[in-house]
């Protein structure tokens, strides 16, 4: 699949923003002492708000006809993309009430209810985003429950690293709980990703034989019917050398998981900021790989023997 840069930015940034606000709400409402300071909460909340909104705006850039984007709220009953749009917008009032209440030093039921709803809608939106991909039977590498697991694990992971960084920069000393949480989620994220890589490495699914209906003999493409590329070649024919993919996988595992893990052990504010930047950069490569390694069944008609 062709990796559209705007979609990579959208899923990584908004995923991290949703993870950040969710973990912050949980920490705040469960009474973690380092997450009671309103300056820490507001910094993390505003960072999350900017990342979510920036991501959502970026997602509209890949639309070829954005003037009809408002219609995307209309098919909630069937379309995961529509559900994502609805929950992404539903989140905003509760997030604004929650952050506004913190800003005005309010406590009590308003903060709790708005906070809990913010966290719930954040996770539901992230789940809907992942289901857009996981629901496509045409792409074997996406059509798996590992896709939502990865999206949620990596969103929470990047959110935890960001939360640790913001807390240590704004609040002074890094809270031990946040450090341990971030370390645990980095390990969890890495495990999920490695399991995914093993899973997609196993050949399965449709072949050129089932695609063409000739299941009792070998089939080879002689001619695709056009001399220059079509929309289908551009969108689905995206191919990267296998060697390059392996190198990028290793680079991604290093930048997204190993480097943040080591920097998190140090607990110094400056290094935590670098850890957060490294996580985001690594996840951008991870999302690029998620697209580049996905092979749509239309490729079978263009001569691939299997996907």
């Amino acid at each position: 699949m062709h990796p559209a840069f705007s979609v990579l930015v959208f899923t990584v940034m908004s995923g991290a923003g949703y993870g950040l606000i969710t973990l912050m709400v949980i920490g705040h409402l469960s009474g973690l002492s380092q997450l009671q300071d309103s300056s820490v909460l507001l910094s993390a909340g505003i960072l999350s708000f900017v990342m979510i909104s920036g991501g959502l705006l970026s997602s509209t850039l890949h639309l070829a006809n954005p003037k009809n984007a408002w219609r995307a709220f209309s098919r909630f009953k069937t379309s995961w993309l529509s559900r994502e749009a609805v929950f992404a917008i539903l989140l905003y009032p509760f997030m604004l009430i929650y952050l506004g209440a913190i800003w005005m030093d309010m406590t009590g039921a308003v903060v709790s209810v708005a906070g809990i709803l913010t966290a719930v809608f954040a996770m539901v939106t992230l789940f809907c985003t992942s289901m857009i991909y996981a629901s496509l039977k045409t792409i074997r590498q996406w059509n798996s429950s590992l896709t939502p697991v990865n999206y949620i694990a990596l969103g929470l992971m990047s959110g935890a690293v960001l939360l640790a960084a913001v807390q240590s920069v704004v609040g002074g000393d890094l809270a031990g709980v946040l450090q341990q949480l971030a370390l645990a989620l980095v390990v969890l994220g890495a495990v999920c990703k490695v399991i995914y890589f093993f899973w997609i490495g196993k050949p399965a699914g449709s072949t050129i034989n089932t695609a063409t209906g000739f299941t009792q003999a070998s089939v080879r493409l002689l001619d695709q019917g056009h001399t220059s590329n079509s929309f289908l070649n551009d969108e689905f024919g995206y191919t990267v050398e296998a060697n390059k993919l392996v190198r990028l996988r290793l680079l991604m595992l290093g930048v997204a998981f190993v480097v943040p893990f080591l920097l998190l052990l140090s607990a110094s504010s400056a290094l935590l900021v670098i850890a957060a930047a490294s996580t985001i950069a690594g996840l951008l490569v991870e999302r690029w790989l998620f697209f580049a390694e996905a092979r749509h069944v239309v490729r079978l008609f263009h001569g691939d023997q299997r996907v």
Partner: protein
Amino acid sequence: MKLGLVVDLDTCVGCHGCATACKQWNTSGTIGPLSDKDPYGRDPNGAWLNRIRTYEVDDSPNSKTVNMPMSCMHCDDAACVTVCPTGASYKRSEDGIVLVDQDKCMGCNLCSWACPYGARELDPDAGTMKKCTLCVDRIYDESLPEDERKPACVLTCPTKSRVFGDFDDPNSEVSQLVRDRAGKQLMPELGYNPVNTYLPPRNKPVVEQYQPSLKATVKGWVNKVISR
């Protein structure tokens, strides 16, 4: 009604006539124009609703060249319709034709990702999704003579390899062809239940080999030996 096409892989010669007639009709039809980017340049790219691919099936000396024209299959279980967030993609309940409302499409490409047959192509100029309409603006046009109320690809096909009809009617030409020639769906394992059906190439009649009698064989051998 369940309208669709039967494509005969035995007789299709891969002339691209269907694709050209389709583009000509539909570029000024209900979903038109079907624009092209750089049409006369070095790297032309544009929206076509039919694609014809050529395959070699089996290995030499038993190999056969098969031309496979593909357009929208108007699936019974059309995932392109369910994934559409704007409601632009819809399947008509009266005849099963899958269409895109050009006024609602936002060009997110998700329907083209959901389609296993590559039937949907983004118009590079309009930014909306284009697909086969089964010439919905032609098959119901009562101002046309009745035998011309068929999709443009079917009318133009020089080898009559494309047949249009109602798959719900067991006595229609398409239903009979599917029965008689063991019509196949493409990629049935994905469960989209495509309506368009492909007729596999017929088995060639077996040519009888000349079997000389024992006497003739002996005579031939003797003649060979004597001439030496």
